[in-house]
Amino acid sequence: MNKTDPIEARERFESDVLSVMGRPGFRYFAALGFCAFLVTLGFGLWGWQIFRGVGVAGISHPVGWGVYITNFVFWVGIAHSGTLISAVLFLFRAKFRTSFNRAAEAMTVFALMVAGLFPLIHLGRVWIFYYLLPYPNQRLLWPNFRSPLIWDVFAVTTYMIVSLVFFYVGMIPDLAVARRRLKGFASRIFAILSLGWNGSLGQWRHYNKLYIFLAAFATPLVASVHSIVSWDFAVSIVPGWHTTIFAPYFVAGAILSGTAMVITLVWPMQRILKLENYITTDHFEAIAKILLLTSLIVSYSYIVETGFAFYGEHPFEAEQFRYRSFGDYAVLYWVMIFCNSLLPLTLFVRRLRRSLPYLFVLSLLVNVGMWIERFVIIVNSLARDYDPYAWGTYTPSPVEIGITLMSFGLFFLLYLIFLKVLPILSITELKEHHG
């Protein structure tokens, strides 16, 4: 970044970041329209499913969890790196987080919104979803607290609330900047949203205390949420699911897919919005290193899981892993290994780590790999359980595929709206680190 007069630099940070919120062009509306189409299609299909019943989906005996639960786990995973980048890197005093934190936090909130839909979509009678909540009632209908699905409700809801608060609190000083610099109706909206922020010393003192507290509070949540999601599977005694390494393995996998999604979102954003001065190759390289580390942890888990399936006398585990590698879904398994374990190894080469187009393609493939990983874990174990009489295969129906596309449409739709209504970089932290 060029060394200029600090006041001038601060002015430039504010105008550069807020200029992104200007009037959108045709391409923006075209992208928005396409995403809106996918969302409409998906919600239409969901309506059809509610009208006709879950029979229109491909899930049936013995594979009762199909792409809906795959999507749920995938989107919760995507939601992870927002807090990782923002809170964990804040605690570790890693300055490169400034370039990504706002985008990643927004991604967390939107991914959680999308993830939260899938347990509802998966339900047969969605209108009584509130049975999951332990609300006081006269019928003594209490949820089963021993069920990890209930733990999920608590974990995901807590994570959602904390992520929203963290996202909002971190944005308050920037909202005040938007209030000051924008005109008319937008200024009035930001005046309400910035909660009377005037940048006094007292406000900064409270702000800094709250921010570090929220960062410290959110960090264990990153681990707990995906651990609990992993226990949805692991507390059962299904071969391929019941294994103690699942919690850290799922957390690492979530961060792997989350960092990949950050690259997928931020590189086009950097190019289209011309933010090269703020989001640099060094920053991408730092994210790529996190991606590499988490890929190594995931690969370690693959090796340990597979190795122990053939250790001792566990014929069902051994059969499950043989089936994963050479059974009906073997192609998906090997694509997963390629995308999640082998391809990221190329990031040991510095030149590739610093090549942004390469990183972008790799991030897309890692996300494909991580989606497939969840599918492989869920479907294979249900398709090939203990009793050969209950074996079967599963193919997603067009309704499930349409709803899956909807989830991507909804996520990108929310992200596109975010780009135009909120400051996409933390102006405050840019001033602090570069100003």
Binding site: P220, A234, I237, T243, T244, S301, V304, H314
Partner: protein
């Protein structure tokens, strides 16, 4: 207080005496307790490899606080060779593993010995090259740090799966390996806390106050991580309630002694570091950080007893004496590090 100064040759002589003493203790006396020596090498493999791994991780992420401790922690690298020697002494005891009666493709004595020797040797060599690069601050530091960490993870996983878990064959827990290498890092960090207190002068021109605070913060973080991993492992075994899995836990918690040890290591590895290190004031005091570090090392040691004791009987006196010998060796190497470290750093520089 005047410290006794030893030359490098004296240090190696000291290690020879320690090795012979341990061998005599293991093979010279009555042969009833067969787990003590294994307990010692399992515990010290974690702490010694973990201490070097702490430097490797911090160098990799360019953490500056390690400047105050780099030389002290790296001075433990020669003890990794000693660990290899201790493993060689242990080899005649390999028959204590239940699977030796029915060897398989992975668990058979020859392969067990070869893979463990190779990994321990690889750890020694990688630690040496890493220590040399780190002391010289040359461009290869990060590369050697990565190589060392790969070997560290593999080696600690093997310690967990081969040396400890296979004592209860066919019991398995896939998290055991990851739990061990995280615990080794935790132990290495605790060792850093103690070494900082033992000689609180920084090696480089570095603000002294920063180090205990950073060590304290990391100990706090690791206590949470340890608690999380412990819970993740325990919950699934308890919830699954499968006879082949639960036997490992029930055998231990149904014995009053091991139940008490279980509570003790839970307190020492999680509750005490968590509650003490949450205080900002406590983290800033080298004495408090060192005391908590001592508690953590004790906790890890008790945990190793918890794993090994019910499978192989232990001799409390021998375990205590071997620990004292190893700790003496650690302090001797740390306090007399200048000669061998400067030789290591300057060997190829000339």
């Amino acid at each position: 207080m005047e410290t006794i100064r030893l030359r490098t040759s004296h240090l190696w002589f000291l290690l020879v005496i320690v090795a012979i003493t341990m061998a005599i203790m293991e093979y010279g006396g009555p042969q009833e307790e067969k787990g003590t020596f294994l307990l010692t090498i399992v515990f010290w493999a974690g702490i010694l490899q973990g201490a070097i791994a702490v430097v490797a991780v911090t160098d990799l992420i360019e953490a500056r606080w390690i400047d105050a401790l780099r030389e002290k922690l790296l001075s433990l690298y020669p003890l990794l060779y000693f660990l290899l020697i201790l493993f060689l002494i242990f080899i005649p005891r390999a028959g204590v593993f239940p699977w030796t009666a029915h060897p398989g493709a992975w668990l058979n004595e020859t392969f067990f010995i070869i893979r463990n020797i190779l990994l321990l040797l690889a750890a020694c060599l990688a630690a040496r090259f890493f220590a040399r690069a780190a002391l010289r601050r040359d461009s290869g530091t990060k590369r050697w740090a990565v190589i060392y960490l790969f070997i560290f993870v593999a080696s600690q996983s093997l310690v967990a799966f081969d040396w400890v878990m296979s004592l209860e064959y066919p019991w398995i827990s896939t998290l055991f390996g990851a739990f061990f290498f995280v615990e080794a890092l935790y132990g290495g960090l605790a060792m850093a806390g103690i070494l900082f207190f033992s000689e609180p002068r920084p090696d480089a021109s570095f603000p002294v106050k920063a180090a205990p605070r950073d060590i304290g913060l990391l100990l706090f973080g690791f206590s949470v991580l340890w608690g999380g991993l412990f819970f993740a492992q325990f919950l699934l075994i308890w919830y699954g309630h499968l006879p082949e899995e639960i036997s490992f836990i029930s055998e231990r918690i149904n014995s009053p002694l091991y139940r008490a040890l279980g509570y003790a290591f839970l307190a020492f590895n999680f509750f005490i570091p968590f509650l003490v290190m949450i205080s900002r004031k406590a983290k800033g005091q080298a004495g408090v950080v060192a005391a908590v570090s001592g508690v953590i090392l004790t906790g890890i040691f008790i945990e190793r007893i918890f794993y090994i004791g019910p499978a192989l009987s232990l001799n409390e006196g021998a375990a205590f004496f071997q620990t004292v010998l190893m700790f003496t060796a650690v302090l001797a190497f740390v306090n007399n590090r200048n000669e061998f470290l400067s030789r290591l750093a300057g060997k190829d520089a000339a």
